[in-house]
Amino acid sequence: PQEHQEEAKSSAVASSQIFHSDGGEMEPETMEIKSVSEYFTKMHMGSVMSRQRG
């Protein structure tokens, strides 16, 4: 569970390779994540910062 927090930026995709005859079980892929809410938080922070500067 902690590791999942560490992986906040990525998302774990379960490996379908269960059988070792396939050459070992692989670790999950890391996908890059974009977020609308993060984008707006940054935008909001940006405007607050510029207002403070001004």
Partner: protein, 406 residues
Amino acid sequence: MEVSCLELALEGERLCKVGDYRAGVSFFEAAIQVGTEDLQVLSAIYSQLGNAYFHLHDYTKALEFHRHDLTLTRTIGDFLGEAKASGNLGNTLKVLGRFDEAVVCCQRHLDIARDINDKVGQARALYNFGNVYHAKGKSICWSGAEPGDFPEEVMMALRKAAEYYEANLVIVKELGDRAAQGRTYGNLGNTHYLLGNFRKAVASHEQRLLIAKEFGDRSAERRAYCNLGNAYIFLGEFEVAAEHYKRTLQLARQLKDRAVEAQACYSLGNTYTLLQDYERAIDYHLKHLIIAQDLNDRIGEGRACWSLGNAYTALGNHDQAMHFAEKHLEICKETGDRSGELTARMNVSDLQMVLGLSYSTNSSTLSENKDVDYNMHGARPRMSRRHSMENLELMKLTPDKMNVRT
């Protein structure tokens, strides 16, 4: 009141975060229908739709949306966004087996990350690169050959994978990112395993295990134990392998993962066969069989029957061996496994002969079968063929460590 694109996208995001990708997709698609002037929002929607489809294993759709995201980010000159889109596109192309295109995407991801001096991005691109080359190596010529003995093209791809994983490790160690180190050690271990570097594979998986324990990540711990077991098999250290498989089994049970539990039992069955402890082998193969039946996994069931037939034969219990050989034949016919069917037919005919011999009081039966190399093998006529087949898989596992009769 009209719902805005942004509201729909936020709901899609929330649903994907809790793992409900189907519902998430519906909201993101509705958001696109409504439309937005904000291209950053649109990029985030495309990207998340791509990832949602990736999680749902609809890779064609995932490809479509990550492509849209890449085109969009390039158009608006959003480099960081382009790097992320390239990374996701690369991962998707890898799963689709389009490795050359995937490599181009990984390179773009890496180049941008280097340009903007983004260490985290560089590390992630290097990990993806390693994964692409690992998958490429495995795709070229996987079945039939044994680790360390693949065609040069395969070995080259695997060596490249190892190089990228090593380069990734340098950065993630610098960053102190233990979770990323864990993932890389796991895949590096599997790469060394395929390259035939079993000692190095063990060293990597030991590191993976250590980090999994640090995080209390039992799934990763289970993976590490299983991969360690596999490497020890190739090192000829069967007892050690068995101990690792037992830990795998324990964790699979704790995690209530029946498919993995079945796999661990199967591995244990094979390991005890290598140790020539057939009673224990049978015990584990039976456990595997029961789970395979529960899960309605006919292929697994067939494999269990074949293994059981061989183990009973080794013990000289030909009635039980026949029971499982026939069952194996029946399943192979049903699943359309032609080579399995051929093997099963030969096993059944061999056993018919043995049973015929042991039940028959008629000496003519013996004389009819004189051409069989009966004398050579004492009470077990034509065992050579069975043993060679039984060991087919296991011999590959242990090219020069086996001392089982052939």
